[in-house]
């Protein structure tokens, strides 16, 4: 095979699409995920915008209550299960992990393709719930019992879809763990591995160990709905709080499945654009592993008001504060990395700085939710919604856009329009702050979440928030259109446009099928300038 052409040129089948959906090349699979996720993201954003427009004024604005409840449920399912959980690992992990550790592909390329197919199957099954039976699910993405048993809407496909998606996540995690253990280039010891692969490694373990718990839980729900076995529904002798425990035992670590790769991305961008080695490499690695580990023991902070014992509340609050420390350590190290650097202020660094600010707001307001007294006041209010959008969208979302603008030249061999990218960034940040900041205030004043309508005193905050949503969507449109047109018509990119030191900057843009002509021998740390 000719090693000189890019992987885009290598075609096994005559029909173009088969070269994608049957490819076991990690780069093509990464892009398959990217395009699937982009499609779902556009749907998820439209649903989010529809909610904000409904809330622009009290009373009915554009839809009925039942529609609204279905919309926020679907928004949550899409954003969480179809976008943020697979998100960075499936797209950038697949595309870049093998290259960054000097390998030709992941350890199990066929399994990798299978995980994309499972993802598509899970997504299709979950989407079916929108069109079948007595209307789309209206439980919220958490499927809390016993409401999820009482509602007459179509629950089963949504739950089974989430169950299937779990397997995609497990397989990706397993694949990455084995790849990292077995396929690092000669000389790349654990402590010479770049930080993005490190974050994928920690994430892989969470995917592998905690996803089965939600799988079992969802199966229990299915058994309860179809066979009337009383696990969670008090009408059948079950305990609804048990459901919450099982759900959050997975879904809290899942938050770290989402945020750790985002942190890994930032740990790549900041050294490159500071032209400087990362400050405290070992501390950043240790904090990654600690977050993954301690993250298993904090699920109860979603349940302070659910009627747990006071001892449990005390302990979960303490653990929650402990998990804040490694995240703080990362922030300090990132900022210290810029100290005495030679900073090249390009678009990816804008996103990294945006990440730092929004993630700090998200993390610090998380302290309000970790402390018992204050959590009780803002639990199940708009405050929580604002907090997790700052972490998930402001954190993971900005890291995703950062990654997109950082690795775009590598993935497409083209350069994007930098001035439009900056316009998109600023519009995004302004819209984001307008949209979510007022929700902190609304929550502190007591406005409950998942609210179709609200009392007059909450009107002001909601107007600002809805206006922010429009600005934010405009920003997203600019960013996406700029990237899409640049992928087709952008200027040709150099091999190493940012002067990065990690291995992906030594291969062609776009890379050849097997990435490397000869497998490199690693002698230096990942960020040695």
């Amino acid at each position: 095979m000719n090693q000189e052409v890019s992987f885009y040129e290598v075609k096994k089948y005559k029909t173009g699409i088969l070269n994608w959906i049957l490819s076991t090349d990690h780069k093509r699979i990464g892009l398959l995920y990217l395009y699937s996720i982009l499609a779902f993201f556009i749907v998820g954003v439209c649903l989010g915008l529809a909610m904000k427009l409904e809330l622009i004024a009290p009373g009915k604005t554009i839809m009925e209550a039942q529609t609204y409840n279905a919309v926020f449920t679907f928004h949550g399912i899409i954003m969480i299960f179809l976008i943020i959980i697979p998100g960075l690992p499936a797209v950038f992990g697949n595309f870049l992990l093998p290259i960054m550790i000097g390998a030709k592909d992941v350890a199990f390329p066929k399994l990798n393709l299978l995980s994309w197919w499972i993802y598509v199957l899970g997504a299709v099954v979950a989407l079916m719930s929108q069109f079948m039976g007595d209307g789309p699910p209206d439980t919220g993405w958490t499927f809390y019992a016993p409401y999820s048993f009482k509602t007459s809407t179509t629950m089963l496909p949504a739950i089974i879809g989430a169950f299937i998606l779990g397997f995609s996540s497990i397989l990706t995690g397993l694949n990455f763990i084995v790849t990292i253990h077995r396929m690092r280039a000669p000389g790349m010891t654990w402590l010479k591995m770049p930080l993005f692969p490190w974050s994928l490694y920690a994430t892989g373990w969470i995917q592998l160990l905690s996803t089965p718990i939600v799988g079992i839980t969802l199966l229990m729900v299915v058994a309860e709905r179809t066979m009337n076995i009383g696990f969670f529904d008090p009408a059948l002798g079950g305990d609804p709080v048990l459901y919450q425990h099982l759900f959050w035992i997975y879904s809290h670590p899942a938050v770290y499945i989402m945020i750790l790769p985002a942190m890994g991305t930032i740990s790549e961008i900041i050294p490159t654009f500071s032209q400087k080695t990362i400050f405290g490499y070992k501390a950043v690695v240790a904090s990654t592993l600690l977050i993954a580990f301690v993250g298993y023991f904090v699920w109860g902070h979603h349940m302070y008001t659910a009627g747990m014992s006071d001892t449990a509340v005390w302990l979960f609050s303490l653990m929650t504060f402990l998990v804040a420390i490694p995240s703080a350590v990362k922030v300090f190290n990132w900022i210290a990395t810029m100290y005495k650097g030679s900073i090249n202020l390009k678009v990816p660094l804008y996103w990294a700085l945006g990440f730092l600010f929004l993630f700090m707001v998200g993390g610090l307001t998380g302290l309000v939710l970790g402390a018992v007294a204050t959590d009780v006041q803002v639990h199940d209010t708009a405050f929580v919604v604002a907090h997790f959008h700052f972490v998930m969208f402001g954190g993971v979302g900005t890291a995703f856009f950062g990654a997109m603008h950082y690795w775009f030249p590598k993935m497409y061999g083209k350069m994007y329009d930098e001035s439009w990218a900056k316009v998109g960034f600023y519009t995004f940040i302004v819209g984001f702050l307008l949209l979510y900041m007022p929700m902190f205030w609304l929550g502190m004043y007591g406005m409950p979440r998942r609210y179709y309508d609200y009392l007059e005193q909450f009107h002001g905050g909601n107007i600002i928030s809805s206006f922010g949503a429009l600005v934010l969507v405009a920003g997203l449109a600019i960013i996406i259109i700029n990237l899409v047109t640049s992928a087709r018509k952008g200027k040709k990119a150099e091999k190493d446009p940012w002067h990065g030191k990690t291995l992906e900057w030594q291969v062609d843009s776009p890379p050849t099928l097997e990435n490397f002509d000869t497998i490199p021998v690693v002698e230096k740390g990942p960020y040695e300038y």
Binding site: D138, Y144, Y147, A235, L356, M360, V368, Q377, H379, G446
Partner: protein, 316 residues
């Protein structure tokens, strides 16, 4: 928390707000401080001003400092967070006023020890109030933001309660905070705090429907019962189809119902109405969903049902 009028509306406010202030001020300082440092570095060490980066691997000393100081600060936050919550953890003091709060889709009912039942929480000022929390169908939440009180109401749990001391007269919003379906955002009422004498007077007033004007037209008490029991969340007066059939013209109407597997035409009479309230899922009108309405056995007496029937007769 910021609203001055809200200060010390209950015994919990001071502790909770102290935790808010401590956490938010420390967080704010960190946010502003770190953002300024970050932007300063971006400016100062921009490659135009600082063309050659100085390679620094890290510093164990700094790592220890920036692990240690935040650790101390978060432990402080943990402590005040727990302290602010502590009053709720113990049992309610002796002599507390005990009220059972019952939530169902989509209303609250408050049941007093003397048998009084209301849709609004009436409580005396400066006396501990213990709320026994019950839910009949799905999980609900009882939240009074001004009091810093919130607790989930979990169906199947019999011994779950919370308590507080209202310290300020007035009317305060009371919300359901746990998403509970279609009309979740309309499931709110108020907590009304009255001085002890005024409360006693209200408490001793034995009239069945304290909110209605008894002198009004026939069935007014029935209307008041329908409103305070929350029936109107699902049954309209004007012919609109909501979750359940409309009340308009319901008495004497002919409906097709599902009895077991067969469909039967019935006439809505006293007996059917009584059955629909006490055992609603036995005969569901065709076109409506089973299982959404639960029995009102524990909330309405036979006499209440008579009053309701009397009122329904007037709705032509």
């Amino acid at each position: 928390m910021i609203n001055r009028e809200m200060i010390d509306a209950s015994n919990l406010v001071a502790g909770v707000d102290k935790a808010f202030w401590i956490i938010l001020s420390i967080s704010f300082l960190f946010l502003i401080g770190l953002t300024i440092v970050m932007l300063y570095f971006v400016y100062k060490y921009n490659k135009k001003r600082h063309p050659k980066a100085v390679q620094i691997d890290g510093s164990v000393k700094l790592e220890i400092i920036w692990t240690g100081i935040p650790l101390i600060l978060v432990m402080l936050m943990f402590y005040y967070g727990w302290k602010g919550y502590k009053p709720v953890t113990g049992p309610a003091p002796d002599g507390a006023m005990e009220i059972t709060a019952v939530a169902r889709m989509w209303n609250f009912q408050f049941q007093y020890e003397n048998g009084k039942r209301t849709d609004t929480l009436y409580i005396p000022k400066d006396r501990p109030v213990k709320l026994n929390l019950k839910a009949l169908d799905v999980i609900h939440g009882l939240s009074i933001p001004a009091f810093r009180v919130k607790s989930d109401m979990v169906p199947g749990r019999k011994d779950h309660s919370t308590w507080f001391i209202p310290q300020k007269e007035g009317k305060f919003d009371l919300f359901c905070t746990e998403y509970c379906g279609l009309n979740h955002s309309y499931m709110y009422t108020a907590a009304v705090v009255m001085p002890q004498e005024k409360f006693d007077k209200w408490y001793k007033d034995k009239s069945a429907a304290p909110v209605a004007d008894k002198a009004a037209k026939p069935g007014a008490q029935g209307l008041a019962l329908l409103q305070k029991t929350g029936c109107v969340a699902c049954h309209s007066f004007n012919g609109t189809k909501l979750i359940g059939p409309t009340f308009k013209g319901i008495y004497g109407a002919k409906h097709v119902v599902k009895r077991g597997k067969e469909e039967v035409e019935i006439t809505v009479d006293d007996e059917y109405i009584r059955k629909s309230i006490m055992d609603p899922n036995a005969e569901i009108v065709k076109g409506y969903k089973k299982g959404l309405m639960l029995s009102y056995k524990e909330q309405l007496t036979d006499k209440d049902v008579d009053l309701i029937i009397e009122y329904l007769k007037t709705l032509k």
